[in-house]
Subunit: 309 residues, 2 copies
Amino acid sequence: MVVNQVESGLAAVEQKLRTVVNSDISLLQDASQHIIVSGGKRLRPRLAFLAYLAAGGEKLELVVPLAAAVELVHTATLVHDDINDHSLTRRGKVTVHARWGRTFALLTGDYLFSKVYELMAPYGAEYNVIMADACVSLVEGETLQAAAAKAGSIDQETYKKIIARKTASLFEAAACMGARLAGGDETTVQALGQYAYNLGLAFQIVDDILDIIGDPETLGKPVGGDLVQGAGVLMAHNGHPAEIGAPVAEADPIQAMMARLRESGAIEVAHLQAQEMARRAREALAPLPDSPARRELLSLVDLVVERER
Amino acid sequence: MVVNQVESGLAAVEQKLRTVVNSDISLLQDASQHIIVSGGKRLRPRLAFLAYLAAGGEKLELVVPLAAAVELVHTATLVHDDINDHSLTRRGKVTVHARWGRTFALLTGDYLFSKVYELMAPYGAEYNVIMADACVSLVEGETLQAAAAKAGSIDQETYKKIIARKTASLFEAAACMGARLAGGDETTVQALGQYAYNLGLAFQIVDDILDIIGDPETLGKPVGGDLVQGAGVLMAHNGHPAEIGAPVAEADPIQAMMARLRESGAIEVAHLQAQEMARRAREALAPLPDSPARRELLSLVDLVVERER
């Protein structure tokens, strides 16, 4: 029942995403739809829906524009990230950057971000403040990550700050907004926010692990793209700053670095960290009464930690 | 009196702009402040203030965050534009792109855009819809312009569409929001919106003319940067699409193209067009009763059309 509700909500989000980017400037519409139809896990809208239901909401359609907006923030940052990372593929398809070039990718990201604003406007001040804060955090996290990549080194504290801001903040915002929209009390909203925040941390650690050990075909993108993150993962193991810029004798330094990370045992340690975040996510749900939505949120934690893409 | 009010409002906007970009990620704060303190005409916040006063508003401080937000939209697009145009100077200073590099310039633009959202959130749905629409228009206009630059040609209709969306829409939004905030009736809001829209068109035509004939030192940036726009101006004169990509024998094709534009008489025609838009701007104010703010708005038209930078 809850699963069906969420699935129909997600279908409405897909519809909303495809129509909200309509424009008489066909390039913007085409590039936007290109990244939207290429899919993605839609974890953030799912969180908004489940938090809404777990907080007692009964009109899921009210969450649709908000859920679409949260996904669109994520989508806009992917388009801009791919410019900065010179990525050629994403979700198994060519990136907007590779297909339309840098200038139009930059503008497409800006366009998607403007559409976030359009979708969120009707929700009023409280929600827009939450969303604005999440967007600010996200850009700060991306900036820290780019600075670490440029410096070629990262410490554990910075790694944690990066994943908290670039990933966990938007997860948290999605759940908080969903719970608030359901009229949840402060305890409920905080509980669901904390759940999502920790889920976001677990998700990002697993993402960074998959970037090192994942199967490129399953992932739909090349591995090794986020080696600074990988270095952060390594850091968790050896306790001192990982110098990813350190000279490596091998022909392909990225491959060599990845091999070193795999062999160091850091992956296992990072997995343990992800599991700890997962535990905190589950624990955060303690104040909430049992419900089908709450059970779904618990299953989602397992899915996130055990996923292979 | 009105002049003093507006000037103190603008001083509050400067203060707001400088503090709103505070961040523990010093790079974002530094790059944001770099572009903010480099100045600019602050025309858009001025419009918001004057429209508010002309519509009978009496608490100018209520307009400050909104006026800062409108200026920040403009600022964010400048930072992104400078990436796409490979510009090295802006307002007589090195660009964010030239100083911090492409990746951080992209993120700084995104950061400023997120801050727009933060500033606007408290105003509620009606204002956020207006602002979101203006942001969408702006990105559409920028995209059309980039597509014309890539194609190397532009027609008059496209030129008009570009300047309407990339410039006039945000001018209009600033005035509409200011007038609404003052509690102006629909006629007043529409009148001030139409005024600002036409002022925006005049402003952009003059901007494009100055890019061809202006003094680089007075402008604070190199001329010839927006030659596609220049071609649009030329178009207004000769009535057929301007092929800016046409082969030119001279050593410096940009200089040659600019000379051709200067000698063609197109500049005079473009000036006449700007004056026509200025006339429409003045005319739009007809429904408003005489007031010091209305008189300031009329003077602003002259300033925009006669400016040299």
